[in-house]
């Protein structure tokens, strides 16, 4: 097979993947008050990684982003379960969330909620599962 020249696709991917990842992080943090959240944030990050996979190959992807996506799924599940179990330490039912206002330097007064920790778990699980499915399908001959 003739070697093809993908310079346009690869150059555009370099710019576009940053925009997609930034937008997915925005969706992730916006989830509490506006449409968004862990699930579509994770799917969108996975979409950016799939775009990188499309324009480069699996070997290059493993070199620039050496994640073990199965382990990422496990870590996400662990974070979600630990967030839920952390409520038991304060003598309240399982999955009780709490929030408070904190003064963070640079950001000012923000309300931090433990639901974000649970969302991080969902985010990591969604990325991990999507990338595992796509990479295992792509690797089989």
């Amino acid at each position: 097979m003739k070697k093809t020249n993908d310079v346009i696709l690869q150059t555009v991917t370099k710019i576009i993947s940053f925009i997609i990842i930034l937008f997915s992080i925005h969706l992730f943090f916006a989830g509490h008050y506006t449409p968004g959240g862990g699930f579509i944030g994770g799917l969108m990050t996975a979409a950016a990684l799939v775009l990188l996979l499309l324009s480069y190959d699996i070997k290059t992807m493993n070199k620039i982003l050496p994640f073990d996506y199965k382990r990422m799924t496990a870590i996400g599940l662990l974070i979600a379960v630990l967030t839920a179990a952390g409520a038991l330490l304060f003598n309240v039912p399982f999955f009780t969330h709490a929030y408070d206002y904190f003064d963070i330097p640079l950001l000012g007064e923000t309300s931090l909620h433990t639901a974000v920790l649970f969302d991080i778990g969902v985010y990591l699980v969604v990325i991990g599962i999507t990338m595992t499915i796509i990479q295992t399908i792509g690797e089989s001959e």
Partner: protein
């Protein structure tokens, strides 16, 4: 509120809708895949961008809030739609889709022929 902003919003949305219709007509009427991707990637991009600009001005003037996601969307469509058209037409050419029978020039085929002859003379 009938100001200049309203006229601008109506103008942008109408231009965008018009270019979308032009794209649809072009997709039906044009003869081969290359002229169709020309119609689809060019005027659809402009149409969608005009509609997004109209939406941006609408929310900026009526509700007074600057939606940065629309700006990001305009930028995104501007970058990706032409590349999508390019990749579709290149894939079609590599798959051997014929040009329109009235087209008179195919320089890419000539170049590939030339390279093949050069390879042949080397060995």
């Amino acid at each position: 509120m009938t100001d200049i902003s309203d006229i601008l919003i109506i103008l942008f949305i109408l231009i965008g809708a018009f270019f979308s219709v032009v794209t649809a007509i072009g997709l039906i009427r044009l003869p081969d895949i290359y002229s169709r991707t020309h119609a689809a990637s060019k005027s659809a991009t402009l149409g969608v961008m005009c509609i997004l600009i109209g939406t941006l001005i609408f929310f900026l003037t009526e509700e007074g809030f600057f939606n940065s996601r629309i700006v990001l969307g305009i930028f995104f469509v501007l970058i990706t739609a032409p590349v999508g058209g390019h990749l579709i037409s290149r894939a079609a050419y590599n798959a051997g889709v014929k040009l329109w029978d009235k087209s008179i020039q195919d320089d890419l085929a000539k170049k590939e022929q030339f390279e093949k002859e050069k390879e042949g003379s080397r060995y």
